[in-house]
Symmetry: C2
Subunit: 240 residues, 2 copies
Amino acid sequence: MTKISRDIIAKSGIVINQDKDLYSFNLDTILLYNFAKPAKKGKIVDLCSGNGAIGLTLAAKTSAKIYLVELQKPLADLAQASITDNKLDDQVKSINTDVKDVLQYLDHDTIDTIVCNPPYFAKSDQTKIKESPVLAIARHELKTNINEILHQAMILLKENSHLFMVFRPDRLVDLLSAMKANQLQPKRIRFVRSHKTDVANLVLVDGIKTHKSSSLMVLPDLVMYDGNVLSREAKEILNE
Amino acid sequence: MTKISRDIIAKSGIVINQDKDLYSFNLDTILLYNFAKPAKKGKIVDLCSGNGAIGLTLAAKTSAKIYLVELQKPLADLAQASITDNKLDDQVKSINTDVKDVLQYLDHDTIDTIVCNPPYFAKSDQTKIKESPVLAIARHELKTNINEILHQAMILLKENSHLFMVFRPDRLVDLLSAMKANQLQPKRIRFVRSHKTDVANLVLVDGIKTHKSSSLMVLPDLVMYDGNVLSREAKEILNE
């Protein structure tokens, strides 16, 4: 018997079906949802969408069509159940496919915004894999990798459209190099720390597809805790 | 009549001859001096050393030989005057040459630490050039660029030795991509802001020459001001 829970990000009102034995959304998901500024209309893609938490919740911020692209069927099925439960069938589509095959479903240069919470761990970094197969694929670059994902993002996006991602700062060089190699210019970057005196544990990136060179803004940090309590900004993000 | 001033970084005790009409050290110099951890012996190179402020002041931290590599003769001459004034002729050498010709003076794979405060502005970004020729060359990529500098740094450094740099965050992608392309792995990165709520205006990087992949630490920010007054850390750095 699987245990499905129904959870809501912030005050979006959109219910996400989750199976804690597979993969559940976490702080990263909520922060990316908060950071992303989706196009108000047109088409949005959530690449590596998992159970669809970010893409589905974006329906609270936009009336654009939203496509959830996820390789793993158990997660794509959960996303479909959430689409139905929220009566979002007209706005949100679940596409159960490999990122590398996404052009069988969506046309190049047609997407207005991409959001992506990709697998974080490089394939070489295999010591940490202790999870279930579904979770391992969601967290490690076993079936795709940051280069492939950003290449597909570049192909899908319209010129001057934005990509919003969350990643690990320890792989910042991989992330920014792969963006540069794929004509995705980082425009804004924000580091997330537990306390202001801690090393950063997440990075949020807003990139734009363009041939022009552009300059990067390193935004003020998002600091989650002030001593033992949530910072004012963290509290706002978690309950907005 | 040129106006030479004699200035000291922090409490190093080392006097730097400066000509304010050419190029003077500034906050960037002091922050890089503070951030750098020079090898205690062996050979250190200050690439694009200007009037030698960082390299010379490092003599307060190390007994290694220090080589100041600077293209512009008026600046290299000032550095030589400072070497003499501080009686550092046995430890510090001024090399008046183009970065691309540095291997005529130093051997590859022999340097234990490199420090570098390079020109910040890309050649394409020419709208801002309003300075004297000497200052323009010090600040803009007119005679060298970040790729060339990092390539030479890679050739000079011993395996597993460190490079310490200061740069502008708006060119972070150029910096990290050029490091990656030259087998210089960023190990620690630190952003500097005026206030904690400001966009970063400087970035300090500690990289290592290695074939191995390595993970990056994004250190806690250096925040210079707390309201209208210097922060405790800024005060310590400026007067240490």
